[in-house]
Amino acid sequence: MSAGQISGGDDISALVIDTGSRNVRFGFSGNDTPTLTIPSVVGAQSSGTETSNFVGDTELLYPHKHMDIERPVTNGVIQNVEKVCEIYSYGLNRLTGRRNADLSELRVSHPILMIDPIVCPSAVRAELVEYLFETLDCPAVYFAHSAVTACYASARYTGLVLESGAGYTAAVPIHEGYALHNHVVSSPIAGDVITGILDSKLNDKHVDLLSPYQYFKRGSSVTHRHLPGITDSYHAFRRAMLVEDIKESICDVPDVPMDDSTDPTPPESYSLPDGSTVTLGTERLTVPEVLFNPTMLDTTAGRNNNPAVQGMVVSSIASCDESIQRDLFQNILPVGGSTAFPQFVRRLTSEIDTMKLPVFKTKVHSYNPAERGQAAWTGGSILSSLGTFHQLWLDRAEFLEHGKGVANTKFL
């Protein structure tokens, strides 16, 4: 019996989940954008032998005492399947409108499309498929890589997807709908690294980055508030959220190579929640420059000789079969939040052109920058709503017959 007969074809709306290092996106197949985006973070509060897990914006923005922030997804790899499933259960519960108090009773009757990063080992899929079929009682499942679905979102089957989010950057050649795994070039330099560099620059300027739980404000006077029992990991989590917002609001990549010795750039300011402002000059541009020039980093990441994004694109394409290189060069697709800097596409184009490739014309396509962080989710929504797609799902009968390893065999 094929999966299509069980799932019912076009009538059944699938759920689409895209797991990132910073956020997990949940939504319904057929929609343009995810319905729910929550941090890929679990707040673990232990009292005695019991641990409560807090998931989602409402709980995480409240400074619970003794709550340690845990990140089950780091650099694109799902390290802790049990914790990430807490995030999935919370998200699916909200998405399906059930509002179950007890998440262990959650059951899902929709097919689920799971989007995972290409750098995540396929063994993780085997663990996730057990959760989906055995815990959630899901009828059918499909796994796709974020680079592939992002390519579909750009209305293409072939192209070089340059995905850069929070945890990793990867150049992934896609040929007729399939990712060429053996030609992927990846690097850990992405959004989180940029945030870290910006954080240390702000530290050097002695800027107090106070989140609302850390101060009282009466009129224009601000007094610090020290709540007892808040963990260091929670303070770091809230601080990083603020630095990320500063990065996304006023930073950009320079349109030519730049370092701290270049002429000063016109400064821009950002208003912090407590009313104070932070002003950045050249650092606005030299911090994200690390994507194009990782040797600027004097941390361990830089010393590992990570490639620059333009080098990743070119070496990935150059390693592919000659007959497909032309199509890849003409369809370079930056996706993911860290490619959404205003000048990113222009800079990437000029860097690739300067690498003086002999025969090939290059074209870097600009997917709507406001939605670039969700491109992979949107592609998953498109993929799961195609009529022809419904014969490809992995259903429970196949899972019971072949075991959890089928998640690795069936999906290419």
Partner: protein
Amino acid sequence: MSWQEYVDVQLLSTGTLRHGAIIGHSGDVWAASNGFNIDQAEIAKIIKGHDDFSVLQTGGLTLNGMKYTFIRGDDKTLYMKKLTNGVFLRKTQQAIIIGVHDDQQVPEPAALTVAKLGDYLESVGY
């Protein structure tokens, strides 16, 4: 079961493949489906390609008149395709199973069919 029966029953009659064959590591064809012609030069590439992907990555593989491009490979299974046609090459202890699908079938169930036969042959020492 004879090798021809393995190809006709275990591979082809599932409806997930257009052609199938089982070859030995030394290059001899144990069985092939009706109308499936594999020439010796390509067999040599398949055998060498499992250990060194670059043999198949540069120049591809031509089977039965169709030229396939290398998509992915791990230590057991390689997948190559051309448009909506594809071929799975699954290596076992003594053999290599070749499963070809065209535009009348889709890759995912074909992958399962080839994997199932490969796992079975390995469990009985082939």
